[in-house]
Symmetry: D2
Subunit: 361 residues, 4 copies
């Protein structure tokens, strides 16, 4: 047990259920002297928040984060930082069905089997609502990485259903509700979502996250490699079923002469590796992708069993995204930021100084 923490040197620990009193987290290991206010964290929380567009769930909560400790006169003090977000939208609702039946594709069955007891309201602890705290915690890491090292972390939608997106225009991403980096694909996405809403169904997605200006040397072989820790952090996001670094699964059909990134005095000639060699950052952009399954909260009826083990069926009513992948962009960014922050502090502890001059390409 005790699985609600991530990171060793920059450690984030969370609590909170979908419909409990509040979500909260403690960030331990943030260096002192970082200017920090709620506003710094609110921006990404708003990007993640449901109800921001007609494409995501209609749940409307301000998701206002409050800093309860660890910051004094606008600066981090080096001690642990406490954050909470009150759950304001706990409307009393009839949970009798979800209480009794295991929603297929959800964590209801496994939580029930593991713990014997579960907070079934809106999925309780297994709800993606919990990721709000990750976004808040990641916001602290993002700010530190940007300010101290110029590291920037950004994500985008790279696939939804059969709509694949290859063109990446960083300036387009925040202009549409899909975090889509290709303006020409926005209409197709819009149509796909409309169709799914009509069908009462949902769709999976693929996202990419990229970190730029990462110093050489982050990552601790053998087991705490940077890529292994990124895989851990990204696979731990709700609904994620796959993680790739660099070329990912495409490497299964690549030749060595094609894959290896050759080097010149001017820098690497390509970045098939996704910025990590031997588990250590190479100074190139770190590139990771994740696949998110389609949510099982749909109105298409599904077979299942109840707590007595009897056959029954179920549809999920209420406010639900047809594509949960959309909202996961800021979550993936936050998780990558937490991992990089953790490794940066580890690396600096052992190696005195961090190389900030990074090779090209």
């Amino acid at each position: 047990m005790a699985g609600n923490s991530i990171g060793q040197h920059f450690r984030v620990t969370t609590f909170g259920e979908s419909h409990g009193k509040a979500l909260g987290c403690i960030i331990d290991g943030c260096p002192p002297g970082l200017e920090l206010s709620e506003a710094d964290l609110q921006k990404d929380l708003d990007r993640r928040r449901p109800g921001t567009s007609r494409y995501t769930t209609a749940r409307r909560e301000p998701d206002e984060v409050e800093i309860l400790g660890g910051v004094f006169e606008g600066q981090t003090t080096g001690t642990s930082i406490g954050l909470t977000i009150q759950n304001t939208d706990q409307r009393s609702k009839d949970y009798s069905e979800i209480m009794d039946k295991f929603r297929p594709g959800h964590a209801d069955y496994t939580y029930h089997q593991k713990y014997g007891v579960r907070d079934y309201r809106g999925g309780g602890r297994s709800s993606a609502r919990e990721t709000a705290m990750r976004v808040a915690a990641g916001g602290i890491a993002k700010k530190y990485l940007k300010q101290e090292f110029g590291i920037e972390i950004r994500g985008y939608l790279s696939q939804m259903g059969d709509v694949t997106i290859d063109k990446v225009d960083w300036d387009e991403i925040e202009n549409n509700p899909f975090f889509c980096p290709d303006v020409d694909k926005v209409d197709a996405l819009d149509e796909l979502i409309r169709d799914l809403k009509k069908q009462g169904d949902s769709i999976g997605a693929k996202l990419s996250v990229v970190a730029t200006n990462v110093p050489v040397g982050l990552g601790e072989p053998i087991f705490d490699r940077l890529d292994a820790d990124i895989a851990h952090a990204l696979m731990g996001i709700n609904a994620v079923k796959g993680v790739e670094i660099g070329d990912g699964f495409a490497v299964a059909n690549q030749k060595g002469s094609e894959h290896r990134d050759e080097m010149t005095p001017q820098g690497f000639k390509s970045n098939h590796a996704g910025g990590i060699l031997g588990g250590i950052s190479s100074g190139q952009d770190i590139v990771a992708s994740i696949a998110l399954k389609p949510t099982s909260s749909i109105t298409v009826p599904g077979e299942t069993i109840n707590r007595k083990g009897e056959a029954t069926s179920l549809i999920t009513k209420g406010r639900h995204d047809p594509c949960v992948g959309i909202r996961a962009v800021p979550i993936a960014e936050a998780m990558l930021a937490i991992v990089l922050m953790d490794h940066l502090l580890r690396h600096r502890g052992q190696n005195h100084n961090v190389q900030t001059e990074t090779p090209k390409i």
Copy 2:
């Protein structure tokens, strides 16, 4: 730093370089009373060992593991277990080229930048030789899981280059040098390897690992989910660039009505999830896949730089697998075993008893 350990309750820590005196590891947290001898571990070491066929490297080392502590009168005592494998094949060789030049696609550059100093002989610590200790440690986990819970962990090659393998005949896997589960694909693999040898090039691969008879309830949300820890362990294997659980990246184009595994009193109707829901094992087979990049140790010349940053080029002579993926099957099995063992002990600590009656399908 201090990244050479994996697991919290069943913890494996390794040391050793490709051409150092010995490899070693300490396994901490193995329950007492398990019958254990070197022979139990040797079988998987032999499966991983180079030189077992003409398809893998010609390096010939017996890879004989020795148990130095933690076992008394043939049983584990509950204290830490010490293992070593002597490096017998340290023939003196000319390493001047690899000492001075960074092999593209290898960890030479990143180790040099991170540590300032590196054991360049055969890749030193970054060499896949180190995985021998993982296989030995995983062998202990495998034995315990099998004996106490009937859990079985097996892997196979599912793709090499453009040869994809869909038919899984568990009895075929050990009959060919590729861990290929489809007898009809063995000739194609053989031909692919021969061609690559002629070209002096290499190829990537995709492997799958499956654990059967896994109890319900393993995995600790939110961050120490079973899938997140599997991703961490598998991405940490040399050359791995992608990890999938269940349907993996295919979910990006699946609908909710298609992906969710419906339940009946007789069990789940499908296993798109790969045996994990909400980060907790569901009792179904755990299915994971990994992509391994083609090795960069090829005789096709590649551009690179030397330690002074000057342009140069390099070919890698000597004994090298055209497909390192082949030998990674026992490594992937070992890593999955270590993760399951770790989570089993965690789960049992908190929840008293472990459900061994698993649902069907």
Copy 3:
């Protein structure tokens, strides 16, 4: 950094400063199914709370703990538990002196040197106010240990200044404001405190904590011994300068024939060891003692330096205990409970069952 957590399987992480908005903590690893409400935790918080008698500081705060997550319908769910205590008594005060001068004997100087920035209000994070969260977290452990294993954890004052207390009447402890187990020493303590108040000075103390009904087998050699972890937890309490297990420092002048606890079929004949042999609980009572230094918050002027390094002097005004040791009894109980809880879950994970039949004496 990242030092605000204790425990591995039952892990407590805290945040909060003396005069910040709130204190908070996350308890991760509490087994599911434990009945838990705020009232369970409030009792020990009230025992620790200042202002409960004229002998302790006049600061008056209700110290009301709130459970924000991890409990559903009155039971723990096995997920992380979030607690907060609002700081209601943040009266605006003049902190200019403490801001500029380092109080001798306090953490002002070391925090300043370590972090460069510090929350100086009331000592900020270094204030003993933080221990309220430890008491709350320990209350959860105490309840579980009592209910599941019959383990009871109690402490008492064993020395204050030159008043030493040898007679232990468990029924007397809660009858006086000193946690004194000998009714005949209460007057002497009362007089000592009055004298100190007149002098504007303070005094050290020694406390003892005892756990009864502890199962055999808790503790993980070599480094995570039960005694080592108890020492860690108790030395981590503010003002503690010494920790003893069993006979403690008296053993330096004991002979082997005198110290070793002989065994008979009816149980151990003595308990010099304090219930721990080879780092593992023996089933006897666990007995530990701690020494707490006199608080440096006194009105006797003291020499010090200011932030510029110039000589100055300082007296500490305001509400302060003449003996901080008094209030540390529930804190020491809480820390011992957290350690035992953590080890119990570890032991159970590895060893299937826990021996609850304990040997006598």
Copy 4:
């Protein structure tokens, strides 16, 4: 379980039993570039080794440490370091008595109860022989601390039985077999040991360890305080029953005006605190003391039970120190070095630079 590691950033993991094949350890997190050879570690191993004088046990083993990995061309590489010491003195002996009977005061009973199985030869894993690996690992920390920061760590005997030692002459310590810093007490110690040998009995001891030139700022509140981690490390040494920092238990009878260390522009005026304030090093000498119980391996018969729970008695024959405390001096130094090394790397990770200019007194 998994308790055989200490440290997070500089982590030491050990294995090995008293009469097994070998002892071993892995040191993970040692910075790269440290010159290191076996000779660097052998000196302290020889100081700890039994058989070096007539005052300690007659067991004669060279205790030769071998570096198996992590060092290349005489320098640490930043990867994990593997060490082993072969057990050469495994003379076949009759262990039938110790196999069947629980030696009072030893870990026989608790190991048996915890694990169900135990290596009874010479105490197996619970034997102090295991501490050889701690001394070797600590030697690496000692060398780094000395070289990079000028930190020096030394210990001495401060009490044996009723012989207390107050005068500390650092030059005397290595001149006598007792690590006694007062030449005038050597005869009394010699006489005490002779008497005990005649009686077949043993005696306890008190040791002190001091670290000089420690930078300000080491230690991570709230739980990973420097003093808490020192207490953990020292209490984890075999036979230790008490740990003090600075004035230790004497503080129970000190006044605040007496205890607090006043500051002047020239430095602290005293060091009652033992160099740690609020869990963070103050730059003064770090001073810790430990009490070691008298060994229970004596020839005075003791009552006990056998594995069937029947009453019996036992004497311990063979080679045993009348005072195990003597040999613990290098062990205590090693443990303190490991803790300081760990905290130094943690601190540097978060705080960029470490203050090496330390205050006076």
